[in-house]
């Protein structure tokens, strides 16, 4: 329960700096240690760079993104984490050699549409679900 209380304090501190707040300055999300936190990273898949312009009509490419980073304890207050991640973290702390940390994985995925010619020159417009990572979290 003390962990919970501390986490609550962490959450207050990291989201809204209190009026007259005298503690350390709010965390800078771009500082190096934050960079390793579990979060979404940019990855642009270019159909053009793959040399597929002759059969893919649109789009030229899409921002696929990917999740990377550490789920370190306490689990990052600004990232969502499943209950399993909390349990996984505690068990990892007890048995780091054999039990891995929670992994950083997509929590929200969106669709893209691709327009292309098939082998017989018909045109196909297909909606591919779960293609773009919109958000990451600790699982």
């Amino acid at each position: 329960s003390t962990g919970g209380k501390r986490r609550q304090q962490n959450r207050n501190r990291s989201t809204q700096p209190q009026e007259g707040y005298k503690g350390p300055p709010p965390p800078d999300y771009n500082s190096s240690d934050q960079k390793t936190a579990c979060r979404r990273h940019e990855l642009y898949v270019s159909f053009r760079e793959l040399g597929w312009q002759d059969w893919i009509i649109a789009p030229e490419g899409y921002a696929a993104n990917y999740c990377d980073g550490e789920c370190s304890f306490p689990l990052n207050a600004h990232m969502n984490a499943t209950n399993h991640a909390i349990v996984q973290t505690l068990v990892h702390l007890m048995n780091p050699e054999n039990v891995p940390k929670p992994c950083c994985a997509p929590t929200k995925l969106h669709a893209i549409s691709v327009l292309y010619f098939d082998d017989n020159s018909n045109v196909i417009l297909k909606k591919y679900k779960n293609m773009v990572v919109r958000a990451c979290g600790c699982h």
Binding site: E49, W55, G61, A111, I112, L115, N122
Partner: protein
């Protein structure tokens, strides 16, 4: 038609910070083809009428679908609805927008009839069209299919006349006499009319999907108001020799199954 994801500073993030080596490129191609559910990269035949499967119509649908996805991502109400149906020359009916919203896949097909036989054995003007919807992934259900013809305004000599256009499904062919035909739709047209004509062939295309042997194509004929057979050109109907963006084509909307299993390698 690009779908770049631009963050605040309008910069497109590079694909990989250095040029891909060939084997890396091949690995990445293999990976993405697997995600797209394609066994190999398609190689459309240029000579096989590559551009008469209405890519511009499909590009219009693509832009509509992409703007739909964008508004969903940003949680904005789809306030483009009325704009889309009024400004998209190809999405003429609200119903099509509904099919598009519901479809997981839309396909337009190349007309496989290479040579027009303008006259039937009984010297009746007609056009033949054949499409092959069987080239779709297994187990998909056609939610809607249309056959589309473009009609241009004809010269003033016919201006006040009306014509009767009939679309048939070919049921059986005979070497020495007229084919057995099933009338799908007949429509009276004004000579001065111009624009796309859509004909619902959902039932017919499902029949073709179930049994390819039934796929003997479509026939379209035109008659004057006095019942005389008349050629396409005379009433302004665009055939396969017309402008590419106005050539006849078939489009089908599909609903695919939710489970998308990637093949293990």
């Amino acid at each position: 038609g690009s779908n770049h994801s631009l963050d605040g500073n309008n910069e497109v993030h590079g694909f990989i910070h250095r040029r891909l080596r060939t084997h890396e490129k091949r690995e990445m191609q293999k990976e993405i083809l697997s995600i797209l559910g394609l066994p190999h990269r398609p190689r459309p035949h240029l000579w096989h009428g590559k551009y008469n499967s209405a890519p511009l119509f499909m590009l219009d649908l693509y832009n509509t679908m992409s703007s739909e996805e964008k508004s969903q991502v940003q949680g904005m109400p789809d306030r483009y609805e009325s704009v889309r149906t009024t400004q998209s020359p190809h999405l003429a009916t609200y119903q099509e927008t509904a099919f598009l919203n519901d479809a997981d896949m839309v396909m337009s097909f190349v007309n496989l009839v290479e040579y027009d036989r303008d006259l039937s054995p009984q010297r009746r003007h007609h056009k033949e069209f054949k499409f092959n919807p069987s080239q779709i992934p297994e187990g998909e259900a056609v939610t809607a299919a249309e056959f589309r013809l473009y009609k241009e305004c004809v010269s003033h000599s016919f201006r006040n006349d009306t014509f009767l256009l009939k679309v048939y499904q070919v049921v059986k062919e005979h070497p020495d006499r007229e084919a057995d035909l099933l009338l799908l739709e007949s429509r009276r047209l004004w000579a001065a009319e111009e624009g796309w004509l859509e004909f619902d062939i959902t039932a017919t295309s499902n029949l073709w999907l179930m049994n390819a042997a039934h796929n003997l194509g479509l026939q379209v004929s035109m008659e004057t108001s006095s019942g005389q057979s008349i050629s396409f050109k005379e009433v302004g109907l665009v055939g396969r020799d017309g402008a590419l963006e106005k050539q006849p084509f078939m489009v089908a909307f599909f609903k695919v199954s939710e489970v998308h299993i990637r093949t293990t390698r």
